[in-house]
Amino acid sequence: MDIKVNVREAQGDSYVVDLNGEIDVYTSPKVKDAIGDLIDKGHYNLIINLEKVRYIDSTGLGVLIGGLKRVREHGGTVNLVCTNPQIKKIFDITGLVKIFGIYDDEDAAMKALV
């Protein structure tokens, strides 16, 4: 019912945000803050790792979309790592597959970023 957020630096000034848990109307502000902090500090190439996310709702999607919009203004991008079929399905039916790079593992997400 909760979310754990871990931020770590990766190659080429990119950052990885590891999320573990459930992203909903209660927990998404925590995710929003973590992503917002990175962008405020001038980091515009982000990987958000959703491998350990069991659940995401529209407020969680809204946070990801908001982050993507902000980094794009600076020529950056947000790539997602996602393997959970239910969550992939949500990206599918909302059409968000078309605006996010979604990868099966962090390596692939990283290669596509740099």
Partner: protein, 143 residues
């Protein structure tokens, strides 16, 4: 002779839940409804769909139904499927806001009702500026 179609006969009972209209209680609603759905013959994927639809409905009550301090969730179970009613007593919205539509471009917000309509089999909104929003949605068990 005609076969009488008896809706009553297939009823497995009704579970009612009332939560405060606050973000921290949405997880209780979606876990409780998932547990209800688990008692029917739903697939894991269908249960996840129901969970998300209920959470989106509750989230909208919290974010938009000003003046309402509680959300009522009623699950009517039948062998054939589940009917979930999510009701608040806040200020309602205009019908065009909860109309069904396509997702075309990225934007923050506006996905909740779309998801509910995508994930459930039938969705009916009864919006009233006075008595709040009453959402009734159903999902059939795949046979």
């Amino acid at each position: 002779m005609n076969q009488p179609v008896s809706r009553e006969n297939s009823s497995l009972g009704t579970v009612e839940l009332r939560i405060p209209s606050k973000a921290e209680w949405v997880a209780v609603a979606r876990l409780a409804v998932a547990a209800v759905a688990n008692r029917l013959n739903f697939s894991i994927e269908d249960i996840e769909d129901i969970k998300l639809a209920v959470a989106e409905a509750c989230t909208n009550c919290i974010q938009h139904a000003s003046g309402s301090d509680q959300i009522e969730i009623t699950c009517a179970t039948e062998v054939e499927g589940l009917t979930v009613r999510v009701q608040d007593h806040g200020r309602g919205t205009r019908p065009e806001h909860i109309a069904s539509r396509r997702v075309d471009e990225p934007r923050v917000g506006g996905l909740g009702v779309f998801l509910i309509r995508s994930l459930m089999d039938t969705v009916e909104y009864d919006v009233s500026p006075d008595s709040g929003t009453n959402l009734v949605m159903t999902k059939k068990v795949q046979s």
